[in-house]
């Protein structure tokens, strides 16, 4: 966005002919007009996006506590403390584990369901709606439903397992399964969104390409997928992967409702640590430092997406 603003500000050619009768001051005048036109948008961006960001960055170098009358600059002390803290590393590892499981899971399932819906002839919109429901529902409310489903004694999941003669499990109370249960819920929630994006991508693939593939000898569904569908979905896939990654990095609601990062930090994730440090222990400075680390990851993903897009061919 920022470089677009710069480009508009530096733009010179089209309006030159129309504006300004005096050629000498003409160029300067055009630049001034352009800057004036860009100013409101730039100002808004500064206030809404860049300002708070700078604030967070500044805060991370202080020992400010929420509500405290004063604070002092402590340089990199927050970061030093953070990198020495075991909880931070557990939290980071859990977040990465969550991303590594949820992203491929929800992308692959979303693509699979989109392909199935696209290839079917009837009930398409019905299936579409069903799979999209989790996206529309409030995750907090859904998390409570999941809490009941995963309940060790009277949960639906354990009930089903028992009816097949298998042992039930305390999914959310066991430190070995808590994070993975959250992953499953994360996938369940993200699949519908990814599916809709993939469906849109599938619809836009030109039909003659499949005809050509068929004539060229791609007789099986798999070879048609490899030759046409997968490459043509390239841009959509790149977008879906990055969006899913960013959303997975931000996992919070389910953790807050279901596990509170427990048992014994086994489902502690970055945003949850940020929340507890900043809003439960009121250590705003430390929370800001965590936020900065989080932002670095999201920024890296965004840059990765920009890089990926350059290599992708849009038909």
């Amino acid at each position: 966005m920022s470089d677009m603003a710069i480009r508009i500000g530096a733009g010179d050619s089209p309006e030159q002919a129309a504006v300004g009768p005096r050629p000498r001051s003409h160029r300067a005048g055009t630049a001034l007009t352009a800057q004036a036109l860009v100013a409101p948008a730039a100002m808004l961006m500064l206030i809404i996006l860049l300002g708070p960001l700078a604030g967070v960055l500044a805060l991370s170098f202080t020992d400010y506590q929420l509500g405290a009358p004063s604070f002092s600059w402590i340089g990199l002390a927050n970061y030093r403390e953070m990198f020495a803290d075991k909880v931070f590393w557990i939290s980071l590892r859990n977040t990465l584990t969550y991303v590594v499981i949820v992203v491929p899971g929800s992308v692959a399932l979303g693509l699979g369901i989109a392909l199935l819906i696209q290839s079917g002839s009837s009930l398409r919109s019905w299936y579409r709606t069903i799979y999209f429901l989790p996206v529309m529902a409030t995750l907090i409310a859904m998390a409570i439903v999941w809490e009941f489903m995963l309940h060790p004694q009277f949960g639906l999941i354990n009930g089903l397992l028992r009816s097949f003669g298998m042992q039930g499990h305390s999914w959310l109370q066991d430190r070995n399964t808590a994070l993975y249960s959250l992953c499953a819920i994360g996938i369940w929630q993200a699949v519908g969104f990814n599916m809709v994006l993939f469906l849109a991508g599938l619809v836009s693939i030109p039909k003659p390409l499949y005809d050509a593939a068929e004539i060229d000898g791609a007789s099986g569904a798999w070879s048609r997928f490899r030759l046409v569908t997968w490459p043509m979905l390239g841009p959509v896939t790149a977008f879906v992967v990055v969006i899913s990654s960013i959303r997975s990095f931000q996992v919070f609601d389910t953790v807050q409702v279901l596990t509170k990062g427990g048992p014994s930090k086994s489902s502690e994730v970055l945003i949850y640590t940020m929340y507890t440090e900043g809003f439960e222990f009121f250590r705003s400075g430390y929370g800001a430092a965590l936020t900065v680390v989080f932002l670095v990851f999201v920024l890296a993903l965004t840059l990765l997406k920009a890089r990926l897009n350059r290599g992708v061919h849009y038909a």
Partner: protein, 384 residues
Amino acid sequence: MAAIELSAIRKSFDRTDVLKGIDLKIEPGEFISLVGPSGCGKSTLLRIIAGLETQTSGQVRIDGEAVDGVRPSARNLAMVFQSYALYPHLTVFDNIAVPLRMRRLSAAQRLPLLGRLIPSRHRTERGIREDVERVAALLEISPLLSRKPGQLSGGQRQRVAVGRAIVRQPKAFLFDEPLSNLDAKLRVHMRAEIAQLHRRLKTTFVYVTHDQAEAMTMSGRIAVMIDGHLVQVGKPADVYDNPRDIRVAEFVGSPKINVLPGMVRADRGVEALGRPLELSAAAAAGACRICVRPERIELGGGPFAGTVTHLENMGAEAFVHVGCDGMVIPLVARIDDPRRLPEIGAPIGFGFAADAVRAFDASGKRIETTPRLRVIQPREPALV
């Protein structure tokens, strides 16, 4: 080189009959054009031959073998699409190589990374490279091999699509309006190239087009389709000269054939615009339509009179539009020498030879006409 036989092909989409019983025998090695106005079902017929569409009833035979239920890839036909349908993510080389890779490499060898480890793949790839380069040289696209389709012009994409079709030796080539996305000049050029390609390859070409000029100039035979029926099949000159149906007469030839309201009298005599012609018809009395090609109209004299309404000077030839009473659409006459054009608005007389007349009855079927007792009639002086 294959013979393709279609018998009683019908196709309906949701109760709409698109093809209403098509019988056609395509000889091995011939260049046949399926031509007709848009929506006549010609593309559907081509897709049925290719196997991309299944007929509702009827049979397709390729080299005597019924291919109904045989997958398109197994029919060994090549097809060039209207949109070219090049794979946008592959280079020109890879686009042309796709049909060869699909056939010569096993599924395991086509795997992205593992495939390269399979020993025989290298040798097969070398063969594919040679074939692709040979075709590229033939079509003069060798310098483009490393480009993506998005970087090519329309004409170049067209060549790549043709290259992808001819790189393997298919039994027949199917063309689905391949030139309709090109500009007029390039279209004329590609027409000659495709005709040349046919002479060189000597394979069966089935060419679908709505442009009668393309069909007339390129093919050995044309099959005119109208409203899901195959109305007439024959050599281009034959179809032009002897249309069996008024729809064929009107579709083939540019500018369109002139249609004059006429009559078959009780004594079998024929008249046009109320004036008797030196013809007798082998049909019952009643209304009929008298058709005359623009180049057979003789201006400057004759039994009919009208007014010049419009002139089209093409440089080498010119078309004179003549409005006359009893006709809604002005009559068009061709003049070889545009330097001697009449004035717009000037009254003009015209006539035509008896053998220029093609008469059709009220339902559009051709009526045989024979010149009446050859009474030598002195040419009337010009009415101008």
